[in-house]
């Protein structure tokens, strides 16, 4: 039971890193990133490939984050200045192309078979100890990310992105270019997603392309919307709700084994889809109320 909770805690932490980045992008700045999973994927593959080829894990994790950030840059250059939904579509396409590349370039990524035997982060310890240390690491990184977000919120940068979310044209009328701020936010969010991807790869030890479908992106969207967009505490709450839902559906399979896993996958997809619709229509401010009081 304890091991189970620690495992959930690690996954929740990885999701939280993803959600904090997306919350910075959408919740605080109004940037519609539908391709978050693409950066997660780049981080996971980069770190996994480097580590399986002998690069120290600490270095490969950092490289994963950096690679995700590097990949975000050209995407931002092309589409961040345009209408907000153009970036949404372009980023969604981006994440699908990332998945296509890791599926197709078998010589590098082993294609659909995936990469097995990704080294653990802490070598030479028992698996129980591994989980404990992993949990500690993820929590420390989450804490750092939260502190970074808090600093941003209180900084002149935070003020500007809030202004951008409120009214982009007014920001332009003051001689400031929203695209520059959006780009920084895109890069930072991608860095977080890339690091989260690396943590994920090293923790579960095996990655394959079908773990990086757009559905992951929209699970994160659901988490930040439910928690209340723009709020750091809301993001934490949203991730907890999401994990409860995902684990709950797994638990349901345990008590009702006659439901096949593919059906359960459809049910998860349907519930997230339904929730996205219902929340945008009836409760865009999330479960906890107005996002201005963050």
């Amino acid at each position: 039971m304890e091991a189970y909770l620690i495992a959930i805690g690690i996954f929740a932490g990885i999701y939280l890193l993803l959600a904090l980045g997306l919350n910075l992008q959408f919740g605080m700045t109004g940037l519609i990133n539908f391709g978050h999973v693409g950066f997660f994927c780049i981080g996971a593959y980069t770190s996994a490939l480097l580590a399986t080829n002998g690069v120290p894990v600490a270095l490969s994790l950092a490289a994963g984050g950096f690679a995700a950030m590097l990949a975000a840059w050209p995407l931002g250059v092309v589409s961040i200045r345009l209408r907000e939904d153009y970036f949404a579509i372009a980023s969604l396409g981006f994440s699908e192309i990332v998945r296509l590349v890791v599926t197709s370039e078998g010589w590098l990524t082993k294609g659909v078979q995936g990469i097995p035997g990704i080294p653990r982060i802490f070598p030479g310890v028992s698996s129980q100890m591994q989980s404990m240390l992993m949990f500690g690491l993820v929590m420390v990184l989450c804490l750092l990310a939260i502190l970074a977000m808090r600093r941003i919120v209180k900084s002149p940068f935070g003020r500007m992105i809030e202004a951008i979310r409120d009214n982009e044209e007014a920001v332009r009328s003051l001689g400031k270019e929203p695209a520059g701020f959006k780009m920084q936010v895109l890069l930072l969010g991608s860095l977080l997603a890339g690091v989260a991807g690396g943590l994920y790869a090293h923790y579960i030890g095996y990655i394959s392309p079908d773990q990086f479908i757009p559905f992951i992106t929209f699970q994160i969207w659901m988490a930040i919307i439910m928690g209340g967009v723009g709020r750091i505490s809301g993001t934490v709450a949203g991730v907890i709700i999401l994990m409860t839902f995902l684990e709950g559906s797994r638990f349901l399979r345990d008590v009702a084994p006659f439901i096949p896993e593919v059906a359960m996958a459809s049910i998860r997809l349907g519930v997230i889809g339904l929730a996205l619709m219902l929340f945008t229509i009836y409760r865009p401010q999330g479960l906890m109320g107005d996002y201005t009081k963050r």
Binding site: A148, R151, I152, S155, P156, F157, R159, M160, E162, A163, R165, D166, N167, E169, A170, V171, R172, S173, L174, G175, K176, E177, F181, Q184, L188, T292
Partner: protein
Amino acid sequence: MTLEIKNMTKAYGGLRVVDDVSITMEDNDIIGVIGPNGAGKSTLFSLVTGFLDGNSGSVTFQGKELGAASATVRAQAGLVRTFQVPREFSHMTVRENLMAAVPDQLGENLLNTFFRPGQVARQEVESAAKVEETIAFLKLSAVADVPSGSLSGGQKKLLELGRALMTGAKLIMLDEPFAGVNPVLIGELSEKIRELNARGIGFLIIEHDLGALSKLVHKMYVMDRGRLISSGDPAAVLSDPVVREAYIGGGVT
């Protein structure tokens, strides 16, 4: 010459919303642009400030042809507009709105935010002092920490003027600053504009409220259906029969 608008034209399909409009402005001028609804005044503003691309025409500001410069670049050059419907950053307080307008902030870069917090903080203190002056000047102290979305229409107009001031604008283009503002505040706003003008800031003002405007401006232009139909000294313009015809025709009292 501060501003020279030359043969500005904007058409949607066959409809010429702004038709061959030319306006020149000397340093330190206060110029008014009036005209009935749909005359193309706000479109003209958007063309001059780079929020819309014109079909033809040019804008020269302080001796420099602006060409295809973006709205951001024009504002940085000192050509700053406000909006007919105020676009305050509604979730932010008055003070935060003004702070956001300060140009060249170190803290607008994430790297500085994390790695040069001291310098950022020092600059914030300087900016805050300037913002304090502007708040006092515009008499917004009572609402300085109120979310700007909850201000009255007149206060929002003041706030937009304040933001424009904070950018260090050399020419401020006000889009209907008196619309929906109570008479007392109109008087005060006019007074502020005169004071700022005395400090060297030019104003180009679109207005419906002819009474307040004619007392304020040095020169007035009249637009109707996209074209300039009259210009000159306010008193002369207001007694121009062509202008009276346009206004009565446009159904505006």
